[in-house]
Symmetry: C2
Subunit: 329 residues, 2 copies
């Protein structure tokens, strides 16, 4: 099986690649070829001497998507995106990458389908940012997408295009609406949701972090490990079981910032908690209060998707995957 | 006030133009300039010797939208669209006109806004085709858009773009989700919903009509006169009252085909009803059974939108507006 990962140099892309290489298969079919693409060529993943192509490509540039599909990958993971904060700040870049890029990809798959019957499984990463306040708690499966950011708008449009192209028979698409990913490793990116990770990630290694919102803020989370598991599961799903509504809201953990901090206290002690500095930021608060506190992910749960059940577990995943299994002394 | 009508040569466009000319104002502001555009130049409306420009323009062609906005119309009615049946049959044309055309228009308004602060009221015609089965009855205001046609997909994307461009402050958009328009005058177009009109329109003038679905089929209707009233009302709405969810589901009349036929019997007698030939068409039925039986239009009703209360009334509107006020002897 040939797998193409678009956005392979990003955080989820790298973790997905590592998981695919470690598994050596997707849904039971042996992985014998991997194409990794991003705006800068991704690094070669560790632990494989197999057929791995590393490609620098701009998906929104005419013809690029078609070239990426020349090897007719069986599964395409489309993770390539400009994140929420950047898509809000640089509107043209956001529309270009998140909307035009997705449309170029879908149109290229369609062209390949019309040329030779090609019809890959395409896993599209959407986001809970498709929802905009006022929101019920939890958000039902059939709640409408009325995004309050350009990023959410672009993801909602991607879902619509994916469903229509799938209905037409040109592609076999599955959209996954990811929760906020926590704990995001590395340095903060431009996502307004960054503090949800940093208030745990930094104190776990003895560094200060800033909390810009009240502890009562409640949000919908899953670990990077769960996010990768969602994508892998989506790659192997039976499309018939999914039906025409091709995007699934992923399960997650609904927790308040206060509950996050309690978990940090249990795992890393009071000293870690004291590293969180409360600096209310009305601008961040205005964005965050429009976000989803919890989702009914009944469809995804019925299809076998699962997420963490506690923030202790989310922190443990981070310690295992990013800190070598134990906290610094 | 300067008003631009895009899609002015279509059925709703012509009726809207006639209403605007007859009123002589929009929301109390005098109409002193009218620009009518369509892919073929619209005809000059009767009853006006005022400033009327008639323009042939392809909205999706680069630069065309900008040229149409050169006169900085205060209100833009965007009715230009390829209908459902044609958008399904000619997928490229549908995406080009319904998606690219709308995006070109919104981007041209944005460019004008950035040049000189221009920010028109833009009334966008969406459709109940944004909904796809299985559907609750009635469909709540917050139900998700999961269209099962490319037309519905394109309209749902238009709604998302309209909301984001309005949120950005580039345009003052209002989307109106029109019910199926009944009785549509003239000859059938490529809409799969055509029979809802023809089973009344043809028998009213002594001609045969074909009914391809059972009489139990229930659907959501409004007259052409109501559709025009929706657009005029949307042009004058206070955007603050509408809020960030810029598209409103319009009120309508939920009726079965059987109820339509009963109304025809009351208005035009048994002889008219006998002109309806039952010819079940499984292909039409498969499309129609995915459509909306009724909507909760609570937001629009609260904002003063109203529709017909009975099919007798819908038929009377047709007799008044299309048949000179009385049935042929």
């Amino acid at each position: 099986m040939h797998v193409l990962v678009l956005g392979a140099a990003g955080m989820i892309g790298r973790k997905l690649t590592a998981r695919l290489v470690a598994d050596g298969h997707v849904g039971g079919r042996a992985l014998d070829r991997l194409t990794l693409a991003d705006v800068v060529a991704p690094e070669r993943p560790a632990g494989t001497d197999g057929d791995v192509a590393l490609v620098a490509a701009d998906l929104a540039a005419p013809g690029e998507a078609g070239r990426l599909l020349a090897g007719r990958p069986d599964v395409v993971f489309h993770l390539a995106a400009v994140v929420s904060g950047e898509a809000e700040a640089d509107v043209d870049k956001g529309y270009r990458v998140n909307l035009d890029g997705t449309r170029e990809l879908l149109d290229a798959v369609r062209a390949a389908h019309e040329a030779d019957g090609y019809r890959p499984r395409l896993v599209f990463t959407s986001s809970i940012a498709v929802y905009g306040a006022p929101l019920p708690d939890p958000i039902p499966e059939e709640f409408h997408a009325t995004p309050l950011t350009s990023y959410g708008t672009q993801k909602a449009i991607g879902e619509l295009l994916l469903a229509d192209h799938t209905r037409r028979g040109w592609v076999d698409g599955i959209g996954v609406r990811l929760p906020t990913i926590c704990i995001r490793p590395g340095r903060p990116n431009q996502a307004a949701s960054g503090f949800f990770s940093s208030i745990l990630r930094e104190p776990l290694v003895g560094e200060e972090a800033v909390l810009p919102v009240p502890e009562s803020v409640r949000h919908w989370h899953a670990s990077p490990r769960s996010a990768v598991a969602f994508l892998v599961r989506a790659a192997a799903l039976d499309g018939e079981q999914v039906g025409p509504r091709r995007t699934l809201s992923m399960p997650g953990l609904s927790a308040t910032v206060g509950e996050q901090i309690e978990a940090l206290r249990r795992v890393a002690g009071e000293r870690a908690v004291r590293l969180i500095r409360h600096e209310p930021d009305p601008a961040v608060m205005r964005i965050v209060e429009t976000w989803a506190p919890a989702l009914e992910a009944t469809r995804a749960l019925a299809l076998g998707f699962t997420a963490e059940a506690s923030f202790d577990e989310i922190i443990r995943v981070h310690v295992e995957d990013e800190l070598g299994g134990s906290l610094p002394a």
